[in-house]
Symmetry: C2
Subunit: 685 residues, 2 copies
């Protein structure tokens, strides 16, 4: 190396270290451009942009025309590209919260760009977020234990954004785990999971989560019947002992938690309760669940009986469950619920005698029951019926008033189908689920047709109501659909996403396990529906999603104060300021209060004895947005994510002696690799 | 319900059941459109497309012009949109394999559309793929235990595609876990992880994985020194007892496995070995590792010493490690390696005396060392030096021949910097990592500048060599860059991805933990570089990536035969054909051979006694692409992914009595919800 060059390096290095000292934080200068630098970067981009783009007229450059020709883009392709592309730094208009199916997580996707902005870890530990590795997040996952057993996955199906007056308020998100009948609460201030509750009486759910119009309750419906509490019962006693349950979980918005003690269930027959929706406006106070196995078939395909898919499809009709949840609250308050395994349950006879529970026949094997924006109709989509069936809430109320019901085998009133029916609209094969827009249209997914049907609601929505309008093919086998605020009192229209279950030939071959295909549809009023974009989902299986305007989410950019506990969303008593780091020993308990800042931990050398109980608090003292650090410790299976301001604690027994390098897992600065230290465990012998 | 309507439903239902019977599989007809139906769906799309797109001339419709105006797209935005948009069903040209950082996984992203096609679970259990839930995948994860302890995450940094003659062959992918010094082997026939190996002597790695030009070896470099085997040693004995190691893992392409018994390490000083690259063509047989802490600083910031980021930046120069791995293989074969904890290690003195190991000074705190396509130069990017430093492999060989070296404290020859230097090119602040294209250009990421520099290689690549050409800003703080086959003997150019670590203001606010930003750059020769697309990564922290043309990957569409074991990639002895299902009891062992087909399991009713040992084999007998089923069992924490043809086995003790509904977790048909059964565990008392 020449002397000149050596000097130059030294000067650069000195300059940087001086600047760093000037800025106070040891690593700050080396780390990141300050916002001024960011601005300048943006300016540079603008200056740099535009080169060689000769405008051919109408805003299209000659090079764009060449690209269209070279890439053989059709006029529709061009329209789609221009409708979905987001220039760097421009923000998506909408956020879609999609369940992640058996990944156990929730996906956050921006619209119209259809980019995955975040995966929220819910039921499955996730190290990038440090979820399930810190004491607090382990405790959240432990709330979801089943009979004392850790469950390390979930099957998330139906996210529900919290609502105020029947519209999304952007504060909370709820999600179910179908596999073990659990619910989770996600705080949208930091997009992370704060609570898991386990239903003590069920082992599966599907018709949840759905919230009541002011998020008083989060609704959960069982899917597969079990004896309440899932104790063993022979399958021959299915009708006698197996049951479903509709659970109303009380949500305390101030505490941001579900309160199990103030929650309750309503016992129902083992009819295989399916999707649900809460009433709103005129139907506020009511909730609705489908079912697909009113036959109470139980399979037995190795014993010569038909499998459930056939057994459960014998009758023409299944039952829509109509539930007065507000009255149920009063019944529980009046002490008329039974307590089973510590959980309050309204038994079927009580539900019937109190006028809480009714059934209405519905075309067999339905999936979605969806309440129209004004709360006046219920749309049921039955997978084996080419129609959507529309019930009138007013007619249901009249039928209830009329009385003189038939009853099912469990004594539950069956309201006459004809008396409750408003309309049936033939939409196509395999209708599953329905959403609404701002023009009085409904959109129903057609699983067998692989299409989305647009049809018109009747009065008071449209004069030309209850008519199929058009169908657009999707690729392939669409399950749910989600439109912008499409299940609220104020659907905004514009975009709809078809959550297709199969992608087959849509994407490059990445092996036998294929991504799903989420397709963005333009459903604005001035033209026919059209597919704009195919989004492969190769890390999850989304079922349902909700789409909210971006502005309604008021998330933290960084935590409000340095030393923040993200589970309590308040100051952490173990938050540590720079210069206040320490290590304290009390017998064989060693407690560490550590800080992180670009780019070092303090302390960076820790020596303990084998067998010591370690309680390790780490506070990221950064205040700059995006200045996240991580903390990894080998062998002890620890990885934490430390967003600016966050304090995390991890406790463990240092039972293995050795030399353990810990380090920052987030590429936080140019000297990030040097952000490490040693945890030395002296052997006890 | 009217009689007419009832009849209609009945007819539809009968028709469907008949068709189903006709097709042989009970669920087939209800499940999915056959390929004819898919084709018809495509035709419908074409028919439906094009409506209302009045062409305004030059391939641009009037509505496209309106969109450009309404969305305020600049000419460059339009170019970018048109360059990256992929119409539905058109396949990406390239696949990018990116590490997932502390998520522990690998991401597969399509280019130019920049869509996440798949997440490959590697070090972290992932239920969507059933990874870590079946016996076989649990066994893969268990291979990665550290001193008998399960590690449920990893810190993946540098993926390496297998190579033939120095170019990607699309067969295998290797990836490191920096946090626990492990490596994984991924089979690109099904994009899933087949093996994890734990380095028995190290606890961190970084300079790996890199493969030799014919994938004879997978190279791993330690990062943070520990006593080999990580036994306790006081930090004061850092120089005496702590060591790094460069590990050459033997890969057996036929078996698709790393063979630890045929692998070995080369002991090196605790200099904090960093990134690496293997030589190729003229430099085949050699490999190169950087280091950042030749100061051997050890921090101690609570003891009044400088933190490592300062301590490790005291000297002007660190050391590039130059290793003759082919000679090392011979040395090991000659029995000159020592065996430590069962692993062969060439000690420093042997490495020196055998001419295996040399050092060359390099500007301090370097990150990448990258070998040019012809294998003739090494490009080192030092984070604290605004230049890239180019070494000549020929000059290095001459310097080695010349002899008469200075030596470091460990007796390792230090080749003179000047004698090995070919050129230095000033590229900007914080250069990190370099890739190459087909025009003789190199591309270096600039972390501090938040930019990518394009500069020219000298002869034989270009006559106007060793010159900075241009810089393009990226958003923000770029770590690695990846160009199409950009680290092989035949870089193809065209696209480059900047893997930016921070996104700050680029995306909608999703809370304090921000996505990273992967930006696609157009680097085709006929214009200046430009940023085309911002891809947020909100589920992982990619470090390095490799980009391969799509056609080179020959993945299975479905497994070759029904009853396929995906770990052995051969017929599974417990694969079960339809009609061959059975349950066998042997003492308290119950073995189940189950099949899945749309839409039922056989058997669907299983009763056992509490305490029975269950061995449960499930074969998905589907042959249609994308006909994946899942298998979920509550409380016992089981979820499997059953791609067409796959056989999975899960074993457990049925120690909890009860009624457990199991079900299919993949939305496989219109009667998917009915695809369930009961696992009944009779109480022992």
């Amino acid at each position: 190396m020449s002397e000149e060059r050596g000097e130059e390096i030294q000067n650069l290095s000195n300059r940087r270290f001086r600047r760093r000292t000037y800025l106070g934080g040891l690593g700050a200068a080396l780390a990141l451009p300050a916002s001024a630098a960011l601005l300048s970067a943006c300016n540079r981009l603008s200056e740099n942009g535009g080169t060689e783009t000769k405008v051919a007229g109408g805003g299209i450059s000659a090079s764009a025309e060449e690209i269209i020709a070279r890439r053989k883009l059709s006029p529709d392709d061009v329209t789609a590209a221009l409708s979905t592309y987001l220039p760097s730094g421009r923000l998506d208009d909408y956020l879609m919260f999609a369940s992640g199916g058996q990944s156990g997580q929730v996906l956050v996707i921006g619209l119209p760009s259809m980019r995955l902005l975040k995966l929220i870890a819910v039921f499955t530990p996730e190290p990038w977020q440090g979820y399930g590795f810190s004491d607090d997040t382990k405790a959240v996952l432990d709330e979801g234990k089943v009979a004392g057993r850790s469950i390390t996955w979930g099957d998330t199906h139906h996210p529900a954004l919290s609502e105020t007056d029947g519209d999304y308020d952007g504060q909370w998100l709820f999600i179910n785990d179908k596999a073990n009948s659990r619910l989770a609460v996600i705080d949208l201030r930091d997009f992370s999971t704060k609570q898991i509750v386990k239903n003590p009486l069920l082992l599966s759910n599907h018709g949840g989560t759905f919230v009541t119009p002011n998020t008083e309750y989060v609704l959960e419906g069982s899917q597969y019947g079990v004896p309440l509490g899932w104790e063993y019962a022979p399958i021959t006693e299915y009708k006698e002992k197996y049951r479903g349950m509709l659970t109303c979980w009380k949500f305390d918005r101030q505490r941001g938690r579900i309160i199990p003690e103030e929650s309750f269930g309503i016992e129902v027959p083992p009819y295989g309760q399916d999707l649900a929706d809460a009433g709103k406006l005129v139907s506020d106070g009511w909730a609705f669940w489908n079912s697909f196995n009113s036959e109470m078939a139980t399979g037995g395909d190795m014993q010569g009986k038909p499998p459930l898919e056939m057994g459960a499809s014998q009758r023409d009709m299944d039952y829509l469950h109509v539930v007065n949840w507000k009255k149920a609250v009063d019944v529980v308050k009046a002490g008329k619920a039974e307590t089973i395994k510590g959980f309050k349950v309204i038994r079927i006879p009580t539900a019937v005698s109190e006028g809480i529970l009714y059934l209405i026949p519905e075309p067999k094997s339905p999936h979605g029951v969806d309440v129209t924006p004004k709360g006046d109709y219920l749309v049921v989509a039955g997978k084996l019926d080419p129609h959507v069936t529309v019930y009138s809430f007013a007619k249901i109320q009249q039928a209830i008033q009329k009385g003189n019901y038939e009853k099912d085998d469990f004594g539950i009133p069956i309201l006459p189908f004809k008396d409750c029916l408003e309309a049936q609209v033939e939409v196509g094969l395999g209708p599953l689920h329905t959403q609404f827009d701002d023009q009085g249209y409904a959109y129903t997914s057609l699983f067998l047709d692989s299409a989305v049907s647009r049809w018109s609601l009747g009065k008071p929505y449209r004069d030309d109501g209850w008519k199929a309008i058009e169908k657009v093919p999707v690729q392939y086998n669409v399950g749910h659909v989600a439109a912008v605020t499409g299940d609220t009192v104020k659907p905004l229209g514009g975009f709809l996403v078809a959550l297709n279950k199969w992608s087959v030939d849509r994407f490059a071959n990445v092996g036998p396990l294929l991504p799903q295909n989420l397709q963005l549809l333009d459903i604005a009023k001035d033209h026919k529906m059209r597919v704009l974009y195919d989004l492969p989902i190769g890390n999850a299986e989304p079922h349902y999603a909700q789409i909210i305007p971006r502005e309604r989410i008021k998330a933290f950019e960084t935590y409000p104060e340095v030393g923040w506990n993200t589970i309590t969303q308040s100051k952490d008593p173990n938050g540590t300021a720079l210069g206040k780091e320490r290590i304290a020993r009390d017998g064989n308990k060693v407690e560490i209060w550590m800080t992180s800042v670009r780019s070092h931990f303090t302390p960076d050398l820790i020596e303990v004895n084998q067998g010591d109980h370690i309680v390790w608090h780490i506070t990221n003292t950064e205040k700059a947005r995006d200045a996240t650090h991580g903390f990894a410790l080998p062998l002890y299976n620890i990885n934490l994510s430390l967003e600016p301001g966050k304090t995390e604690t991890v406790s463990f027994v240092a039972d293995a002696s050795g030399t353990f390098p810990f380090y920052c897992t987030e590429f936080c600065s140019a000297l990030h690799l040097e952000m490490m230290g040693y945890f030395l465990v002296k052997p006890s012998s």
